[in-house]
């Protein structure tokens, strides 16, 4: 079964040899299951000059409880792209792991990386596979962003794609946010985003937007100064993906918090 000629897609291979490993292929008992599992919340992405920045808060909630304070919802999808997950945490993490293997698998089999649009389309079809579970309350919505190696103008190489439970992808201009706090994060970004931001400014703006989301949405966690838990901030540029170190995010988050001490509205 491993030697059959055919697909370069790992999910297509799994659907033949181990369909139980695909999240969408599991039979669910009838009824709503939304309150069963923790939910991951807000992710923001901002296109900047020469790349794209993605940041996520660290909270997972279960109803009115905080299920986890330090969950990591933003991950590299491959060397040049990032994926963030909102919705049912367990399925989200599983989909993200599967997506990472999908991209790496294609790259190894074909000897070349998928185009950025190709990656977004693969992710859309994987989300679509989860539609049944989504209708029972176990929805997962990713946010996908990456540096487009094929872009002519490096200033426009940072691209963002959003999705819904039926798939997608929808390319976004400039910025986007997903998850329970996305309404507030997007409102903040709408007023502050300018085309051609530098990467550093975009990082600061992303942390500010997450602060605004946490300010008004109980399911989004703000910077936790007492436990030193700060948002996960990643970027994809021509040099590849990079995650800001804890020290770097601490400095930025503390700057944002001290700014809000003087002006709570930011």
């Amino acid at each position: 079964m491993f030697t059959n000629a055919g697909t370069s897609s790992f999910t297509a291979f799994l659907s033949k040899v181990a369909p139980e490993m695909l999240p969408g292929r599991r039979p669910l008992p009838p009824g709503m299951a939304a309150d069963l599992a923790p939910h991951a919340t807000t992710i923001v992405a901002i296109a900047a000059a020469g790349g794209v920045v993605m940041a996520g808060d660290r909270r997972a909630t279960m109803g009115n409880l905080i299920a986890q304070r330090d969950i990591e919802k933003v991950h590299p999808a491959d060397a040049y792209s990032l994926v963030g997950i909102a919705g049912t945490a367990g399925i989200g993490i599983e989909l993200m792991r599967l997506f990472q293997v999908e991209l790496e698998h294609y790259e190894k089999i074909e000897g070349a990386m998928l185009s950025l649009d190709g990656k977004a389309n693969r992710l859309a079809s994987m989300i679509r596979g989860n539609l049944g579970a989504a209708m029972q309350g176990l929805a997962v919505i990713p946010l996908f962003a990456g540096f487009d190696l094929a872009a002519g103008d490096p200033a426009r190489a940072g691209r963002i794609f959003s999705f819904d439970v039926t798939g997608g992808p929808y390319e976004e201009t400039g910025y986007d946010a997903i998850g329970s706090g996305s309404l507030f994060a997007k409102s903040a970004l709408k007023k502050r985003f300018r085309a051609g931001l530098s990467i550093d400014d975009a990082v600061r703006l992303a942390v500010e937007a997450l602060y605004d989301a946490a300010d008004d949405d109980t399911a989004t966690g703000g910077p936790d100064l007492t436990r030193r838990i700060y948002p996960v901030v990643m970027m994809a540029t021509a040099e590849g993906t990079r995650r800001l170190t804890d020290a770097e995010t601490a400095t930025i988050a503390e700057g944002v918090v001290s700014g809000r001490m003087e002006n709570p509205g930011g």
């Binding site: 491993f2 030697t3 000629a5 790992f10 291979f13 799994l14 040899v17 181990a18 490993m21 304070r69 330090d70 990591e72 991950h75 590299p76 999808a77 491959d78 060397a79 993200m96 792991r97 599967l98 990472q100 293997v101 991209l103 790496e104 698998h105 190894k108 089999i109 000897g111 936790d224 436990r227 030193r228 838990i229 990643m234 040099e239 590849g240 993906t241 990079r242 995650r243 800001l244 170190t245 804890d246």
Partner: protein
């Protein structure tokens, strides 16, 4: 009615072995050897796109000689198996031995059950923390496995190439020394009247599994970097591999951390200190 001729099992196996050996001996050779910084693959290959050497997983590489369609099929199977195991368990649970065993089973079954054996010889190489920890498995057309001592040659005239390589190879060689030794061994045969010849850089396929990298260690060496190594340019040893910067060049604590993601550990970058909960 056609006459049924009796052929003894020994005769059938001998015929199949002969067919496979002849097929393999027609092709150009490939070498795999350990050096101080990792495992080096050098293959003589006129094509720059139809690879004889490729990546299987984080620390596992693959080299093959013989029929392209047959070893390409095996390579894909290996990538599928490694990715499936890495996703089901963890990236650290994928190892070269399991893959070598799976290849041995497949090749053995094809040799005895199919009317034509695969005309291939392959090497599964796994890079370890030191040259002594590297594992090179040689798999032949009939499914036999050999654990090779830090170096191996496959393909046409492999024995004489192997002899030259053995006299040159040391596990503590630098990359440029290892590349030059490998090219010298490859070019020691095939000239006029069995004499040595020269092989141009564009006819070589060179790749390494870099011992010091975290995550995916496989890198191809092409173009100027390769010419630099062949010319004995000492600086080329430390030349950054094309592609991504910011990858640690020495093993760090992160090498031992559990990977959060099924994607490669080298993508994750810095791991946060655990917050005091």
């Amino acid at each position: 009615m056609a006459m049924q001729f009796y052929a003894s099992p020994e005769q059938i196996m001998r015929d199949r072995s002969e067919l496979a050996r002849k097929g393999i001996a027609r092709g150009r050779s490939a070498l795999v050897l350990s050096y101080e910084g990792g495992v080096l693959f050098v293959a003589e290959n006129l094509s720059s796109t139809l690879h004889k050497v490729s990546e299987i997983y984080d620390r596992i590489g693959f080299a093959a000689v013989g029929r392209y369609n047959e070893f390409e099929n095996l390579r894909r199977a290996g990538v599928r198996m490694a990715d499936l195991n890495g996703l089901s368990y963890d990236r650290r649970d994928v190892n070269g031995l399991a893959l070598a065993n799976a290849y041995a089973q497949t090749l053995g079954a094809i040799f005895t059950e199919q009317s034509k054996p695969f005309e291939v010889e392959i090497c599964v190489a796994e890079v370890g923390a030191t040259p002594e920890d590297d594992a090179l498995y040689r798999l032949t057309y009939d499914g036999s496995v050999n654990d090779e001592p830090g170096r191996m040659a496959m393909g046409g005239q492999a024995e004489s190439i192997s002899g030259v390589l053995k006299s040159q190879h040391r596990p503590d060689m630098s990359l440029s020394e290892a590349v030059r030794a490998a090219v010298q061994a490859l070019s020691s045969v095939g000239g006029e009247g069995g004499a040595a010849r020269t092989i141009a850089a564009n006819q070589l396929e060179v790749a390494v599994l870099d011992r010091r990298r975290v995550g995916r260690t496989f890198r191809r060496i092409t173009g100027a970097a390769l010419t630099g190594l062949l010319d004995g340019d000492a600086g080329a040893d430390n030349a950054p591999a094309p592609g991504r910067a910011k990858t640690p060049t020495v093993p760090t604590e992160e090498a031992n951390k559990p990977t959060t993601s099924a994607g490669s550990a080298d993508l994750e970058g810095q791991q946060t200190e655990q917050p005091e909960a």
